[in-house]
Chain length 120, copies 2
DNA sequence: ACAAGTACTTACTCCAAAGTATGTATCATG
DNA sequence: CATGATACATACTTTGGAGTAAGTACTTGT
């Protein structure tokens, strides 16, 4: 396997990385600051839009709805809206979203251990 | 626990979120595109700087060294340099870094399943 | 003498992600 | 009659994360 001299761009390399590295594949879907946090809050049960907003005070409405849309487009969660007024919209994890729970859980576990000083 | 009206900024909210949400705590440390990928490559064994560079062709040298420094500052990996010439620098996971392996492994597992269509 | 390999550093630029600040439709409530 | 709650949308601005490109110091190989 020779090293390709300089014939490829970063974008082509990214395609290569995608094919080679599984973590890269996941990062393309939840690799942002807010997405795992949103998924964490949905892991404890379905939530309305406003419940998520209150659960994550640091996020702006624009970011929240943007990431919810992206997560929905990536089939990680399902949006359900009842045609009533005031609107009643619920978000819940999809099958693939539930599949992410071990990741989210492992993240939470690590954090609790780290905050307890278990790694010092 | 009343809801504080509008007296706090996003930054203050972020502090709050940090205290409340474990996933947020982790995202502050590895919440970037490249860091989990770097950790994944170190999970299979210690690596020299140039080995990481070749293992992750899509990353630029600047990004690689920048993230390595940050991961070192966050005590997730350990840098060891032998005072020889040419330089010989090795990176390996710290205790906290090893603690992240379940997270990385869960990420990889999910990706393989997702690529196999297990979630469709 | 000059290129190549090692592990970086620094300066400059750029674009997309994120923040700020509004607007919208509908109904209940005071 | 105006405010609040709901679940968004949209325009504008800003920031910082990321890319490009070049340089550094030292030695080995040809």
């Amino acid at each position: 396997m020779g090293i390709a001299k300089e014939s490829s761009t970063i974008q082509m390399n990214k395609q290569f990385a995608l094919a080679q590295c599984p973590v890269t594949h996941l990062m393309e879907k939840i690799g942002s600051y807010w997405k795992p946090i949103i998924l964490y809050h949905l892991s404890t049960g379905d939530k309305r839009y406003s419940e998520l907003k209150r659960a994550i005070p640091a996020i702006t409405e624009k970011m929240l709805i943007q990431h919810l849309k992206q997560l929905e487009a990536d089939h990680l969660l399902i949006r359900e809206s009842k045609p009533v007024v005031p609107p009643f919209v619920t978000y819940r994890l999809s099958k693939a979203g539930y599949g992410l729970l071990p990741v989210i859980q492992a993240m939470a576990d690590w954090s609790f251990k780290d905050m307890d000083g278990a790694f010092q």
